[in-house]
Amino acid sequence: MKPSHLFKKVLSGLALALALAASTAALAQNPAQTSGATPTQAQSQPPAPTQPAAPAQTRVGVGGDLVAKGEYLARAGDCVACHTTPEGKLFSGGRAMPTPFGTLYTSNITPDPETGIGKWTADDFYKTMHEGRFPDGGLLYPAMPFTSYTKVTREDSDAIFAYLRTIPPVRQADRPHDLQFPYNNRSLILGWRTLFFSEGTFRPDPKQSDEWNRGAYLVEGLGHCGMCHTAINALGGSSESKAFQGGLIPMQNWYAPSLTSNKEAGLGDWSIKDIADLLKSGVSHRGVVYGPMAEVVYNSLQYLSDEDTRAMAVYLKSLAQGTPPEPAASPLPTTESSLLLSLGKTVYDRQCASCHGAEGKGMPPHYPPLAGNQSIQMGSAVNPIRMVLNGGYPPGTSGNPHPYGMPPFAQSLSDNEIAAVVTYIRTSWGNRGAPVSAADANALRSAPLD
């Protein structure tokens, strides 16, 4: 980053939230789940679901129950995605989180007394989750999603802490962060916090059902969905007023769609079953997950109980209710566009139709439909372009253990052909997306893959 940019950012407040969103996605990599060396705790089957009612009524178990509940909640919070490296020991940290300001390294949260959190009390732990502060009062970088975790109840925080105490301790000192000046100065976080952090436990909405409240609690709290699905505002914070409105994830070049607008991934016209299938298995009759969202399903959502998944679906569907109908997209009158479209159709018929169907109907759930699929028609064409460049597999989950894959086309299609075929799928079969240019396609060739 050029120094001038740097200073602008500083003047406008600590732009760390950028870092925050960037890095969750950067961590969209599976942590150690496989290697023989890895402790097996995190791999075990999801424990029996806890009571899916609103959090205030959540039952606190004792002993083993409490630990099992904590393990389940740690899954819901996806702690493993950030606090474990691919072949490292469970929760021993050290995972690099690249941000526009340098690299953060996650902490060792095993109960090792010297290098982990073995000397912490449940109060200390709650302070971190709820206030974003270390036991000594120091400020955490918001790359640790305490802005969401603040909504977690004290009971649930205690359960997670009880579970973390049962993890095999690992002696591994935290790697110091490698941040550029002035971001390495933690006192700057204070300014950021006044702008973007409002501390407070989730408060159920009495006008809504228990199920809705449970869903809201998970989505806004442990699920920290807003860390990606929220527009990044000028100051680099995920803005409260723009909650769940979508945004481009920096460093990663994936677009996390709005969950509130039917024009993007807004789920207003999806059935509860399709939303729940998508969250739990990664595929559905309406669409599939990929990129950073595949990580979320793989490491976290697939382990949630059917009741909790359903509750999230109910809440997510309600978020998108009442959005005005999408405006008609501009037709493509010019000769240039029609040339693009005819090339696009040629490429599509040769390369894509065998899986997605000549009419874009796909073969759901494994080959997603492209006709009527909002996620390819959004204002941002980043995701469909990247899918064509890089291909992909939905995550392998217990609901879909043997996913089907899409081949990458980066090597076989030119920028023009990619622009043409993406324009074609965005504008055919009643789809209302805007055309994309060869330059758009070219720019994403260098997007990071890991």
Binding site: N30, Q33, Y367, G405, P407
Partner: protein, 237 residues
Amino acid sequence: MIIRFKRVLVWLALSAAPLAGAQAQQPEAAPDTMEARVQACTPCHGANGQGTSDPYFPRLAGKPSGYLNNQLLAFRNGRRHYPPMNYLLEFLPPDYLKNMADYFAAQHPPLPAPAVVDASPEVMERGRTLVTQGDYAHEIPACSSCHGPSLTGMEPGIPGLLGLRASYISAQLGAWRYGTRTAIAPDCMQIVAGHLTEDDVRAIAAYLSAQPAPKESSPAAQGSYALPFACGSEPTR
């Protein structure tokens, strides 16, 4: 990586062919086969894992399943680097990777014709010596001592060395020397590659890529012969 990608452009025409026309009889549901599930792999590795005309994309067919599985885990966990593959495998569970490995291990398309190599007889002779006898003075064991007398590998973890292109072989040996490819510890190949010079690598790659396919190309059974030293990828019974 970028260089590799450029080279790959030639492969465009080839990959387009198999998919064309398939749309005519499109089924309702995705076929419940491994063949359909690994279509994301075949543009680079060939429909039966036989490789493609691109010299850098390795053959997978017929290699020991345990070996292929180790590679898939290594890519998935970032121990072996090739971003397009690291990305594809990132969220696939180990059981499924094992299915993929079994699938490609069970394919037996014929080995490609040996490459026509323009290396001098001296270079080819140096390659032959290293592969079949090693170089005691430089602590290089014969490659055949692990990869087998006919270089077809051994179950479950040692791959055959025939049917690979020279550029792929030298890139892999280079990757071990520079630490960008690592195998399960003790990583015997890292020790072997560490003793090779650039010239050795060139000679070996030229020699290996020019060898004709053996009559029997399946890997030897586990424990058929003893290794000169231990390899983490080849468990001893």
